[in-house]
């Protein structure tokens, strides 16, 4: 791991603390619906910064975020982190769609959460709609069909990133699987 990547992971911890905080959660728990949630996340400074640092090392960033989501889901009071989990899923969706899809499928089986369930359902539905089309490489398809309940939520470069990391490496697959297993119980 190069120093840039190491730095990225150190920074991540700082963002995790902010997003897991009550101050962050209360801003989101009062929102009137899913479209408001996505709009508010799109404007959130912490969220944009978290997605920007992903550019240093997308693979490790994505694994660290997935691991953190699984950790929160494994907490006995995971419902306390509902808004935080939704925010992480939103970030993952922007950076690594296939990881977002995997985690979302896991979140769908959780009870007692609301926004994160909504977010994961949205991601799963979106990815499955893409999968119906065989031409995965068509950025144009995504650009024109991305259902934006989220106004301007995903800028073009991030969208391209989501696409380019969609076919993730075998390494990431294996690590993700082991992370999943570790928190499965």
């Amino acid at each position: 791991m190069n120093s840039g990547a190491r730095r990225c992971l150190v920074d991540l911890h700082k963002y995790f603390c902010r997003i897991d905080s009550q101050e962050f959660q209360v801003r989101y728990s009062v929102l009137s619906g899913f479209s408001s949630l996505r709009r508010t996340l799109a404007k959130d400074k912490t969220i944009s910064e978290l997605t920007v640092i992903a550019q240093n090392d997308i693979l490790n960033w994505s694994l660290a975020v997935c691991e953190h989501i699984y950790k929160l889901l494994a907490e006995s009071d995971s419902r306390m982190y509902d808004e935080s989990i939704a925010a992480y899923l939103y970030c993952l969706e922007r950076i690594d769609l296939s990881a977002a899809y995997k985690v979302s499928r896991r979140v769908l089986h959780m009870g007692g959460i609301w926004w994160s369930l909504w977010m994961s359902r949205y991601i799963v539905k979106y990815v499955e709609r893409i999968q119906e089309y065989s031409d995965f490489s068509s950025t144009e398809y995504i650009n024109t069909n991305y259902k934006t309940g989220d106004v301007g939520a995903m800028d073009n470069s991030l969208r391209r990133n989501a696409l380019s990391t969609k076919f993730q490496t075998a390494k990431q697959d294996t690590v993700l699987h082991s992370v999943e297993l570790a928190f499965a119980s």
């Binding site: 801003r27 479209s35 309940g149």
Partner: protein, 182 residues
Amino acid sequence: MTLVSFDVDIRKPIYARSGALIQQTDFQDLLHARIAQTVEDVQRRTDIVLKDLSRNGKRISVVRSCSSYLYNCVGMIFASRRAWIEINEIYHIFREDGFCKISFDKLSVGDIVVYTSDMAPAHVGLVTTVRRTDGNYGKISSVEVLSKWGRDAEILHPMHSVPSTLGTASEFWSEKVSGGFA
């Protein structure tokens, strides 16, 4: 009368005065018991929100209800606390229910306040009190609103005392002006 339990929480369609269907949230099944919240959850979150609000110098009047039933601000006003209706539906509802946009000085009890954030609707509240400086004719000095904050509590509050993510009170709507739907 038998109350329907969360386990068989089947939401019914909702229609506007014109007969047009009001779109409820896409994921109706998420309102099912599996993710239903408890009253304690609502109370806990509301306490945190109110503490945060008071740190920002805003106060509320009364927490009216901490029901665990899942409905939102639009559902509170337009579906008698029975539905979760996406905030984006609000202009469709106004049009189909015959509401007209009014200026702030025309505001009276029963009218609707729309809170917007970056030009998009973010929240709605029902006007419960309008105080004027000179009885019924002077300038409006204060407005109280009843609104449901997300899936949390239903709260009676001064018009501008809402969490910042709910936006600012910027539009006022009334159905008593037009006398009918469009």
